[in-house]
Amino acid sequence: MTTAAPATGTLTATGAKPGAWHHRHLIDVDVLTWSEIELIMRTTDEMKGILARPIRKVPALNGRRVTTLFYEASTRTRVSFETAARNLSADVVSIATATSSVTKGESLVDTIRTLEALGAEILVMRHGISGAPYLAAEVFGGHVLNGGDGWHAHPTQALLDLYTMREKLPGGDLRGRKVAIVGDILHSRVARSNIWSLTAAGADLWLCGPATLLRGMDRWATAWSGGAVPGHGRFNVTTDIETALRDADVVMGLRIQRERMQAGLLPSMREYAARFQLNAKRLSLAKPEAIVMHPGPMNEGVEIAPDVAISGRSVITDQVANGVAVRMALLYLLAGAHEAAVGEPAR
């Protein structure tokens, strides 16, 4: 097997009490059991309740220090994390590496040691290199929460996607529901994390895009058995957009990542749009009540038509709103995972 599952973190939940949280870090969803995902979903429900109150703030993380360290451009994810932390009354320090000592040549390990010495307890990190948060977790004494690393993983996005699907689909259950993810799968950490959580949820998952942007996925799909988490379903890979969209319950567009695109993967943006853009005509193949998702930022007119992005079936702004609640839930759960509770079953 040449295309292995993404580097899996060690399972700390062995012998763990169901319904409780045992992870010191969250770098990918691949370490989560289904009952832990359910716990995150339930906790997110409560956080949504807080967001609906006149005062959208609780003192749960009062005085705890959350630092965001972003080596890649981001607005929504960073602001979402920082809003989430502030809603829980945490103190937030925000590092944009473009204006930090990183430009003077400071290494990731040095930066993290420095932030820890400055009092960081929870480190929310985005990095362009796949696996960078694992290195961070090795040297950092607190909690690492991955805000996206390279092509590898974007766990909070996968969890907010799952939450939004459960919220919008009748019955709130994904078992047997057809989910089509269309676009630049190759470079997408969102797709990789979603494969874990959506197959765990029992969805009928289809990945679709041009062959050059699906490279390796077919072998991964063949070998897929859920990796570290038993009971995961299989997923499908196709270059035929009509096969992917037919009778789908959920259609998710992914951004064509121009900044990661090597020459030759796509003839042109226009060519991609002509063959794969999520437009009204193609979406008529999906179920009438199907929802349309996109993790943002969108290239409107490339992977998604502008009228689709703002149509009644689009839940893209719900994804953004739910992102704050999911991140509140994860910050809350991680902040409680003390040394005593991690790696050792609770009393």
Binding site: G19, A20, D45, E46, I50, P54, A60, A340, A346
Partner: protein
């Protein structure tokens, strides 16, 4: 661990009826009264108080549920984040007299957290407190307005309130802790 019963189902019922009368008497009626149960066993208790008031006053008071988890002062001390059970206050708190209902009053920290949580939802005219058991050992300047039963305890003891809605039967027992744990949730 030896369990000793300190209230039977009948005694719980009578205490709730008495508290329901006291609440109405203190308010001189039911105008502006709302009941808010603290998760978990305060919620069914608040429902029972509302039912008792309905029997003798003919008025059904609004009942809400309050989860105080996010307002606890020991979140950085407990070994694991407590599981949140849900807040549901389907009414406007402004100008109301809120009667907080809980099963056991112990250190007072739960009530402190509950008052902070309530005030984030609005500005009640007054907040009162009704508890089934007051076991003493307050760590904060808080007292109950309505008490089902005062039970002198030692800190090594645990009071278990069991209610049919949650535990399939009604009774209150007291037990001596065999080993000391750091579970701050005991009897809260």
């Amino acid at each position: 661990m030896t369990d000793r019963q300190i209230m039977t189902g009948d005694e719980i019922r009578r205490a709730i009826v008495r508290i329901s009368h006291e609440i109405v008497e203190k308010q001189a009626g039911t105008q502006g009264l709302v009941l808010v149960g603290i998760q978990r066993r305060g919620v069914p208790l608040a429902q029972r108080v509302a039912e008792a008031i309905e029997v003798h006053e003919g008025v059904r008071l609004p009942v809400g549920a309050l989860d105080i988890t996010f307002y606890r002062d020991d979140l950085s001390l407990v070994a694991q984040q407590p599981i949140v059970k849900g807040t549901d206050l389907p009414f406007d708190l402004n100008g109301t007299t809120v009667v907080l209902v809980d099963d056991v009053l112990y250190t007072g920290r739960t009530i402190r957290a509950a008052m902070d949580a309530l005030i984030d939802f609005g500005r009640p005219r007054a907040i009162r407190l009704a508890v089934l058991i007051d076991r003493g050992h307050r760590e904060l300047p808080i007292r109950a307005d309505h008490v089902g039963k005062n039970v002198p305890t030692s800190r090594e003891e645990i009071v278990h309130v069991r209610l049919a809605e949650v535990d399939a039967e009604d009774e209150v027992t007291i037990a001596r802790q065999v080993r000391s744990t750091e579970t701050t949730a005991a009897g809260s």
